[in-house]
Structures are given as structure tokens and as C-alpha cells.
Subunit: 131 residues, 2 copies
Amino acid sequence: MNIGHAAEASGLPAKTIRYYEEIGLVRPSRAANGYRDFGEGEISRLSFLAQARSLGFTLEECRRLLELYSDEGRASREVRTLAQGHLEAVRERIAELGRLAQTLEALIDRCPGDDSPHCAILDELTGDARR
Amino acid sequence: MNIGHAAEASGLPAKTIRYYEEIGLVRPSRAANGYRDFGEGEISRLSFLAQARSLGFTLEECRRLLELYSDEGRASREVRTLAQGHLEAVRERIAELGRLAQTLEALIDRCPGDDSPHCAILDELTGDARR
DNA sequence: ATGGTCCTTCCAGCCGCTGGAAGGTCAAGC
DNA sequence: GCTTGACCTTCCAGCGGCTGGAAGGACCAT
């Protein structure tokens, strides 16, 4: 299976697959003509990566997840802990963005949004927010 | 005012200030010895940038905000629109991360997290989620 | 033989910095 | 006057995770 088909099968762009090979996440064999040749196992890894990435795991987390995936003797605790950590990071990010959104909302509310130059948003940015 | 003091005054690292100069967000003059020399105006711009960045505006948005800031004839509508767009982007990101968190939570709940190798998270990633 | 579609490698760029190397400048203390 | 140390300068490289493009080889159908 060459890279084009692997891309179609896994849902990842060919460019991304080459990149994943470069950083050692997949190791396709090579055909006589130099083309990459993806077997079942490699396709599985690629699909796995596509899924894990879509859940927001970093590539390093993906690397660890792949290790656990191919380790029959893994403890599910390890997977869970990894996922928990990621979830925690996502939640923190959400909280951070939530505070941001609130601040922005408040500022937008106080900006007239008309032809006049006065604007609470600029006031905040310049530190003229008092008054 | 040299870059070290400008950094202290604005709250931005000196490296960042140099970078901002490189991309044309600030234009400090130079002293005879080649050192950057920041006047009041430049310090204001740096503080403005620090604030705007902390509200999550991209550097391109910051550039536009600085333009509006120094345009006495601006219409506050323009600032508001820019901020609205940014807020919208933040909200979308929050929604996206919220969906992510929910999915992760559900998966984590279904993973025993013990010594056994079976794990709903890995099942999801491999596409074995049915059953 | 020709054309079109694949594949290969390599290099560069996105964003917003950040680190480090190599060297110039300045102020204080001996 | 000389050294030390803290500043400053430029330049280059790297982070994550790709993405685009150029230049050239391979394959397949006509």
C-alpha cells in the first residue's frame, strides 16, 4: 500500500504521514522502487494517530499511547493517567479562554461601536481603564 | 530608555521587544552607541501590545489595534468589530475544547484504570469502539 | 513516445516567541 | 588604566505540527 492509499485509509494527508515517519511514529517498509509500502500494522498505527490527534493529544502523547497500544502487557491505568492529564490540560485551557471571553465581552459591551473615537477597549489596552 | 528598562516598564521580555521591532510593531530610535532608545510613545505601544496579547489578540490584530489607537479619527465601531471577531474565535475554540473534554471524560470513565490491559480509550483510538 | 498521475527528497515558511553564541559598550571598583 | 560584570548588539536555530512548493524519478495508459 503506497502513501496515497495509506492517506486515504487513515484520513491523514500524505505530507503528514511522511512527517510522522521522519519523527519515528511509523516505520513503513520500502518497495523496490523506493516507494513507501504500508502494511496493515502501519495503517492501524496511522488511523490510531489520526484518532488520537483528533482528541487533541500531542505527538509525544501519541507516541506514548502507541507504545501502550502495542504493549500487550500494559496496565490500563497508564492509559487512563495519560488521558486524565490531557483532559486536565484541556480543562485548564477552557477555563483560561473562558476568563478571556468574559473580559472581552465586558469590554465590548462598554464600547459604543459607533463613529466616535472613544472606546473602552482601547482604554483598557492603554491602561486608561480607570474612570 | 534602553531595552532592559523598556522590558521592565512594559512587562515584555527584551527578546520579544526585539522581535516586535523586527516585524515593525515598534520603531525605537537608536542611541549613538547603537542601543535602542525607547521614548514615551514607544513604551506606550509596548504596554499596549502586552495588554492586547494578554487578551489573546494575534499580532496582526495587534497591529490593526495599534493603527486604530494612534488614529484620532477612528470610529470605535472598527475596534468593536475587531474585538467581536476575536471573541467569536475564542468562543468557537471553547466550544471545540468543550466537546473534546466531554469525549475524553466519557472515555476515561469507561477505562478501568487498573492492572488489566483492556482499555476503552485504546479501543476508541483503534476504532474498536463498537461493543 | 507522450502525457498524466503518482512517488521521492529537500528546503522554506507558518505563529510567536525563546535560547544561545559571539562580540561591542558601559559603569564601578581596584 | 585595567578588570569585572552587567548590559547591549546581531545572527542563527529550534519549539509543534504541519504545509507548500520545487525538482526529479516511477508507473501506467494510450
